[in-house]
C-alpha cells in the first residue's frame, strides 16, 4: 500500500504540537495509523523536541522523593501481575484506532443513517466549536452531489476509493478541498467507499435537491 496524498506539513506539525482542533486531530491520527511516511515526519519533529530538551542543562536536580514514589508504584504494579494486561482486540478492522473508539465499533457494527442518494453517514462526537467529523459511506460507482466549500474539507479514505479532480484516492489517502474548490467526487467501482470527512463549515451544494435536504442532514 502506497499512500500518495498526505495531510500536509502544517497540519501534521500542528497535530504534533497539540494546537489542532479535535476533529482534525482525529483525521491526522487516523492517517498516521496508516501512513509510515507521515509518522516518520512526526518522529523528526520529536527528535528536534528531544534534542532541545536534552540540551537544557539549567534544570535543578531530580527530586528523589518522586523517584521513590515511582518505584513504589512500579512495585505494586508488578504485584498485580501481568495478567491484568488487556487482551489485544481481534482484527481485521476497516477503521484504525483512534477511529473505532470515536465511532463505537468497526464499520459493520455502526448505525449508519441515510443522507440521500444512497450515501450514509455516522456523525462522530468531537468537542470544540471548530471542525466536525463524520464517517461517510458512498455506494460503489456513485458520486457525491457537486458541492463547494465555505471552509476546509479533508477526506481520509478507509475502504474502497474515490476519484476527484484527476486523482484516485485509496485507503490512507487524504483529499483536501478549500473554499476555491467545487467538486463532485465519485466512488470507485470495486466496493462502497468508506471515508472520514472533516469540515469546518457546511458544504455548499450546487443542485437544489441536496441543498433543500441539507438543513435536515446537517452536512
Amino acid at each position: 500500500m502506497t499512500i500518495e496524498h498526505h495531510v500536509g506539513d502544517e497540519r501534521l506539525l500542528a497535530y504534533g504540537a497539540g494546537t489542532l482542533d479535535e476533529a482534525t486531530s482525529l483525521l491526522v491520527a487516523a492517517h498516521l495509523a496508516l501512513c509510515p511516511a507521515c509518522r516518520s515526519d512526526l518522529e523528526l519533529a520529536e527528535a528536534v523536541g528531544g534534542a532541545l530538551m536534552e540540551s537544557d542543562r539549567l534544570a535543578p536536580p531530580a527530586d528523589e522523593t518522586v523517584l521513590d514514589a515511582l518505584v513504589r508504584c512500579i512495585a505494586c504494579e508488578d504485584d498485580e501481575g501481568s495478567a491484568a494486561a488487556a487482551a489485544a482486540p481481534l482484527g481485521p478492522f476497516v477503521l484504525p484506532q483512534p477511529l473505532r473508539g470515536y465511532a463505537g465499533g468497526d464499520v459493520a457494527g455502526l448505525r449508519w443513517r441515510s443522507v440521500g442518494g444512497g450515501i450514509r453517514q455516522v456523525p462522530l462526537k468531537t468537542h470544540g466549536a471548530g471542525a466536525t467529523a463524520r464517517l461517510l459511506s458512498i455506494p460503489a460507482g456513485k458520486s457525491v452531489p457537486e458541492h463547494g466549500h465555505s471552509g476546509f474539507e479533508a477526506t481520509l479514505v478507509l475502504a474502497g476509493s474515490f476519484y476527484d479532480r484527476g486523482s484516485w484516492y485509496r485507503r490512507g489517502d487524504v483529499g483536501i478541498a478549500d473554499s476555491a474548490v467545487v467538486h463532485r467526487p465519485v466512488a470507485g467501482p470495486e466496493e462502497d467507499c468508506i471515508c472520514l470527512a472533516v469540515t469546518d463549515a457546511p458544504l455548499k451544494f450546487v443542485a437544489a435537491v441536496p441543498r433543500l435536504l441539507q438543513p435536515f442532514h446537517g452536512i
Binding site: M1, D9, L34, E43, A47, G50, A59, V66, C73, P92
Partner: protein, 212 residues
C-alpha cells in the same frame, strides 16, 4: 515483586560504551538509549533510576514551560515516567533516541492535561495499524549518529528558523501565538516553519521519500 538486589547493580555494557565515547561527557545519547532498552528487556530498576535522574529535571522544566503550576507538573512528571516504565517495550532505538521518545511521552501528557479538547492518538498495537516497512541496514543510523545529525541540522538553520521551530515543536505554540509573540505576520511564521522543516527533512529524513 520487589527485587532489591536489582536496584544496586548497573547494567555493565552501558559503562563500557559510554567511556569509549568521544570527549563529550554531556552526550548521554547512547547510554540513555541502552538504559531504556534495559528497562524494556528486564525491568531494570537501576537503569530506570538513571533515566529519571537524567531526564526527570529536563522533563519537569519542559512541563513548567508548557504552563503547569508546580503541583500539577509534579503529577505529570510522575505520570510521564510511569508511562516510560510501562511502555518501554515499545521503544525502538532505530527510530528514536531516548530523549526524543521520552519527550514525545511528556508532550502528549502535557497536551492531554493542558488543553480542553481531546487530542486522539494512533495505537501501534492496533490490528489495523500499518506497520513501518523494515528499514534496510544501511540507512539505519546509530542512535548517537542520529542525535548528532539532529543537532548539526538544527545548528545549520538560521536563528529565526530555529526560534520558530523551538516555539512550535518544543513549546507547542500555535503559529498564531508565535506570530503575536514575535510581532510578525502569521504567514511569515508559516513560511519559516515550512522552510526549516524541509531543511531538516532534507538532512535527516531520507526515509520519507522512500516511504511515500
Amino acid at each position: 515483586m520487589k527485587a532489591p538486589g536489582n536496584v544496586i547493580g548497573f547494567p555493565r555494557r552501558s559503562f563500557g560504551r559510554a567511556s569509549a565515547g568521544r570527549s563529550e561527557p554531556a552526550d548521554a545519547t547512547d547510554e540513555m538509549s541502552d538504559r531504556l532498552l534495559a528497562v524494556a528487556e528486564h525491568g531494570d530498576r537501576a537503569a530506570f533510576a538513571v533515566l529519571f535522574r537524567h531526564f526527570g529535571p529536563r522533563v519537569r522544566a519542559y512541563l513548567l514551560r508548557a504552563g503547569g503550576d508546580a503541583g500539577r507538573v509534579d503529577d505529570l512528571l510522575q505520570e510521564t515516567f510511569a508511562a516510560v516504565w510501562r511502555k518501554a517495550g515499545q521503544y525502538d532505538s532505530r527510530r528514536a533516541t531516548a530523549a526524543a521518545w521520552i519527550f514525545a511521552i511528556a508532550r502528549n501528557r502535557s497536551i492531554d492535561a493542558f488543553r480542553r479538547e481531546r487530542r486522539p492518538e494512533f495505537d501501534r498495537q492496533d490490528p489495523a495499524f500499518q506497520p513501518d516497512p523494515q528499514p534496510d541496514g544501511e540507512e539505519t543510523l546509530a542512535t548517537r549518529e542520529r542525535a548528532e545529525s539532529v543537532r548539526a541540522a538544527l545548528a545549520a538553520l538560521s536563528e529565526e528558523q530555529r526560534e520558530v521551530l523551538r516555539l512550535s515543536f518544543y513549546d507547542g505554540e500555535s503559529y498564531a501565538a508565535i506570530a503575536i509573540r514575535l510581532g510578525i505576520p502569521v504567514g511569515t511564521v508559516k513560511s519559516r516553519a515550512r522552510l526549516a522543516f524541509r531543511r531538516l527533512r532534507a538532512v535527516l529524513g531520507g526515509r520519507r521519500e522512500e516511504l511515500r
